[in-house]
Symmetry: C2
DNA sequence: TTGCGAATGTTATAATGTTGCAAACCTAGC
DNA sequence: GCTAGGTTTGCAACATTATAACATTCGCAA
């Protein structure tokens, strides 16, 4: 099983977070853009679990920490993080999740468990190729792909079968 | 080129609408569910073009026709139409589009032109298979697939190149 | 140290979607 | 016909998600 399956297995999540933050710092430095305190904190909050977080969830967290935040604060931070490939927006949930493949050029494919809410980000060449082929057949120029699969993750599936 | 490419080509759109309505009537009769006046009118409005329509756009249309409508009216009609496979919701646009493959079991793949706004619905076995394979590899049970590709349709691409 | 662009604060508002309850309406069975 | 029950709609209020516009502050460089 690949490392990408982490969300659905017990794991030391702290390393997910610290890896993501380290990645982010490096990427921002390379691009010469500023990973400000707010942006970094938002990224960290998003990474607190593998369940996507809504903008207003982030906002509430910030507020509870005494941060004087309004919606634009959060949306701006999220825009920045998205722009630099550090988080993804899950359109079907209106929520955000940490990018598990920073740096790599990838077509994020998201497996979203409707029971536990965890999201697994995959990259799959066959999927990506098939989509591009289908688009090519219609002479359509692909710029962005939203691929979100909802269903049941292995753990929740197993639980369900035990009942 | 297949008939599915219609949205991006000139065509007699009235037949799209009347075909969709005829389809809908038949499907509802077969399922023994009621395609009420409101539901039918909403479906017709959605089909007025190949550009997805927001719920509040539909609402505005209904209101302008003197229909005494509130948001729930529209959302309920849309829920019904979705439930019976007559329209699709495009998550990345918060909008709705007529289903071009009623009846067929299909993984809707949507090509959304960011320039003209038209949407083409495709069914592609390879794409569908690749997605299921990728999910299977993670022991994930697929229930629903959201696949929305944004970019430029052939017509807008051609126009752009002329400039 | 001052000037400039980037980032944030602040207020208000827009856009999208839902809840809950009451009234109207079909339709099956008498 | 009529009436009982479920389905559909009307309606008011509200919840959630996202953006606009403008003032202020911050960080860096000339």
């Amino acid at each position: 099983m690949s490392a990408s399956a982490l969300p659905y297995r017990p794991h030391n999540h702290d390393t997910c977070v610290s890896d993501a933050l380290a990645d982010a710092r490096e990427i921002c430095q390379q691009k010469n853009v500023r990973l400000t305190a707010t942006r970094e904190r938002v990224l960290e909050l998003i990474w607190q679990s593998h369940k996507p977080l809504g903008a207003y969830d982030v906002l509430a967290e910030l507020a509870s920490e005494g941060h004087n935040a309004a919606p634009p604060t959060v949306y701006r931070a999220l825009d920045f993080l998205q722009q630099h490939g550090l988080v993804h927006r899950i359109a079907s949930l209106n929520a955000f999740t940490g990018c598990a493949h920073t740096g790599e050029k990838h077509t994020g494919m998201f497996l979203i468990c409707r029971a536990c809410g965890n999201v697994l980000e995959l990259t799959d060449t066959h999927v990506s190729t098939a989509i591009h082929n289908a688009a090519d057949a219609e002479a359509f120029r692909v710029e962005n792909i939203t691929l979100e699969v909802s269903g049941l993750c292995p753990r929740c599936l197993a639980e369900k079968n035990h009942e």
